[in-house]
């Protein structure tokens, strides 16, 4: 079959690139991480080394909080915009989705603009209270940054999912006597669960792996990607960097994979 040969040939270039620049490099991280006298003992050290452990816990905790906040804020905004029609609606949608394509470093800069030394919040508090409120370089700043790139992701997913929702379901609930809030809780949110799970997983995975934002904020908090980076460049500790990368990669991949199994929806990240 001429067609079968053609179709097979069509797949070869993509697969070659994939194997050469993803599969092989990521797989080779494992032997690299074992390239120390203690071998697998290095993995045991992560759990015992308070610095790495704290970094891992901080990163996970922060990502969880960000995910929850983004789901509430972005989810509300998305549902509101999908359900209501008013002048300026498309402008609001535009604003909410614009940062989707911002790299992590730009997101970090946005937080500096808001809460940095010369930021808006600082100037406002200076004018009102006479003292500058600066938190861009603390956990709060990191939280704002992660929230900044998470909200647009939630908004796009939830809007797409709720657009497909049959509005008759809600109307049926209303005719049966449910208030708007009850309708939301009893009908809309259950129907949206797959979308919420998948977008939540994406936010969580993106937050855990977010390097650019944390890098720009030069934060006091050692999130995992920053630790990897400093281990690699400053300490030239390649094995540890590789090992932490493996851990990080596994955590994000597992999160997305589980969400995919649970929700059946598309779950792929995209770095920030």
């Amino acid at each position: 079959m001429r067609k079968k040969v053609l179709l097979t040939c069509f797949l070869v270039p993509s697969l070659t690139v994939f194997v050469a620049f993803f599969l092989l490099p990521v797989a080779l991280l494992v032997p690299q991480s074992l390239d120390t006298p203690i071998g697998w003992g290095l993995y045991a050290q992560v759990i015992t080394n308070p610095r790495y452990l704290a970094s891992l816990m901080d990163t996970v905790l922060l990502s969880l909080v960000v995910t929850a906040a983004a789901l509430i804020m972005g989810g509300t905004a998305a549902l509101f915009l999908e359900r209501n029609r008013f002048p300026g609606r498309s402008a609001l949608i535009g604003m909410l989705t614009l940062p989707l394509s911002f790299p992590g470093v730009v997101v970090g800069f946005m937080v500096i603009m808001l809460a940095g030394r010369q930021g808006l919040i600082g100037q406002a508090t200076n004018a009102v209270f006479g003292s500058k409120l600066v938190f861009a370089y603390s956990v709060a700043g990191l939280f704002l940054g992660y929230l900044y790139f998470s909200i647009p992701r939630v908004v796009t997913t939830v809007m797409a999912a709720s657009g497909k929702l049959d509005t008759a379901l809600e109307e049926a609930a209303r005719t049966l006597g449910a208030s708007p809030l009850r309708t939301l809780i009893d009908v809309v949110i259950p129907a949206m669960t797959p979308a919420l799970v998948s977008t939540g997983a994406i936010c969580f995975a993106t937050s855990i792996g977010a390097f650019g934002t944390a890098f720009t904020l030069a934060t006091e908090i050692n999130v995992l990607p920053i630790v990897i980076y400093t281990e690699f460049t400053l300490s030239a500790n390649i094995a540890t960097a590789a090992m932490l990368s493996v851990v990080l990669g596994l955590v994000t991949w597992l999160t997305l994979f589980l969400a995919h199994l649970l929700s059946g929806a598309e779950t792929t990240g995209g770095g920030a």
Partner: protein, 646 residues
Amino acid sequence: MRKGAFFWGQMGLTLLCCAFLVVPVAQTVLTALTVNAFKGVSSGFTLEWLYKVLTTYGDTIRRSFYLAVTTLAVCAVIGVPAAYTLVKAGKARWAAFIEESLVLPLSVPGMAVGLGILLTWGGVTWFRHSWLFLLAGHTIFCLPFMVRAVTAVLRVVPLPEYEEAASILGAGPLKQFRQIVVPVAGPGILSGALQVLTLSIGEFNISWMLQTPFTRTLPVGLADSYASMRIEIGSAYTLVFLVLIVPVLALMQKIPAFMSRMTADNVKTSDTPMTQTPVVMKARGPLTEPVSISLDRCSKTFGRATVLKPFSLHMPKGKKVVLLGPSGCGKTTTLRLIAGLESPDADGRVFLGDRDVTRVPVEKRHIGMMFQHYALFPHMNVAENVAYGLRIRKISREETAKTVGDLLDMVHLPHLARRRISELSGGQRQRVALARALAVKPCVLLLDEPLAALDALLRVSVREELDQLLTTLGITTVIVTHDQDEAMSMGDLIVVMKDGRIEQTGTPREVYHDPATGFVAGFVGGSNRLEGEFDGKTLHLPGGAAIPAACLAKSASGRAVSASGKVVAFFRPDQARPTEPAPGRLHGEVVTAHFLGEKTRLVVQIGETHLVKLELPSAASVKPGEHIGIALPEQTVMLFGTEECA
């Protein structure tokens, strides 16, 4: 509706989100353009910072631009064919696995991927120091978006139909890909391309790991400018980035509109018979010398399922042959065997005239086929669709134009030559599809459910036009349908099929008046079916009816009914008459009586469980609940052995 606290609460939160996202952007733009970031707008506007950025970081901006364009080119060249293969593989396990694998780079943080690439390929110095190193990183990150965007589009369009239509018009696999698949995937490629551009321009994590002092990209430069702590420079640089990506983002908003133009499925709702007066399609005379079609010992199995049992069938040249049967009977498979879209099992042979075409690929068979949903190419206009087969055959421009003009005249659509397919009504699409099939002057014409996609009211008038046209053209035509009215009115010869077997081949009259099997008797003419016993003289039916042998229809084929045995009796709804109940007569209670204008349709319950239909002149007045007898005139009851009616 009154807007309560719930509404305003949501509105407030939405506005808060917007403010949170947009205020820093606005602040960045202002800072980039004002003289003093602290004093704000009052200090006046300046382009100084932008100028400084362009001179200091100009190389990173140019590099990012070139890198994004190159990444896009690579992703398109390797990603579109891969997406096509994945879609063609359908639900195959391996394809799903590859597809999941290709998006894997998005599930792993860029840091880790970058580190892996660096540790694996960093030793290859020339590669490490060239921009190709970054290109590899960007490609692995952007490729999934291209593949996903293209597969998404190719999965919603009827791709197999388009490909089959193209192959019937003479296009080989590579031409199908170039001329049909790529243009149809257009919106997906565009959407993927815009995503690749923004992602590549903004990619930081991998780029930062892979950069050398000579391969610094825009985001890397951005990080550098932020670290310099000069907020005006950082802002101005960010503004440059925004200026680069905002046009791309704006273009992305246009994609849904572009997309809907390409998917021609949405038939315009204005397509009602009221607005469309039937036109008479006229042909000048025979198109080509007609040829006969022969299928010799053909059978077809898919895996373990036998779709067609071995059969032979001859279709005389110049005749209209209808393949009639319920869905799943194998009629469409038979049509596809003739077309070459399927090949018969080992022993089967397909002949067009004297030519054995069994091994001839579909694009070389030179046939015309009209698909059920027409399979008109959405990226070509009406004239281009009709001309496609001629283009494949490299017919000269002038001759093509003349042929297309003639055909559009024939189907009365010359004024629509430049229309997009999505702008046509269903009836117009059908005529374009017919013109396209006839343009190559095919030796036979195959019509797959030619009227099924039309409005019920339009169907009858189109059927008559089509029938007249085919008769004038004198082309051997095979029509697949499940509608017996269509079969009766259009066929010179009807082939009734069931469960992959031919039940009867004959003229419409033969099939109606002299059905060869119980199935044909029941399927054609909507007959009533009752099970009973026949002892050679009397037919015993449910409810104690005893029908004399005189009522039985004589059969030319001499249906054998065992002298005393279980039989199945059929009679037509319009041949039975209601009368007074009498001993030995078929009788029952009227369940419904529907007045339909020219006739009245009764449903009568016989015995406990049997329902029969009667059609009476509308003058007759029978009411539900009445108990009536049913008179069966002579030679109206068709009898078959039970085994024939399984």
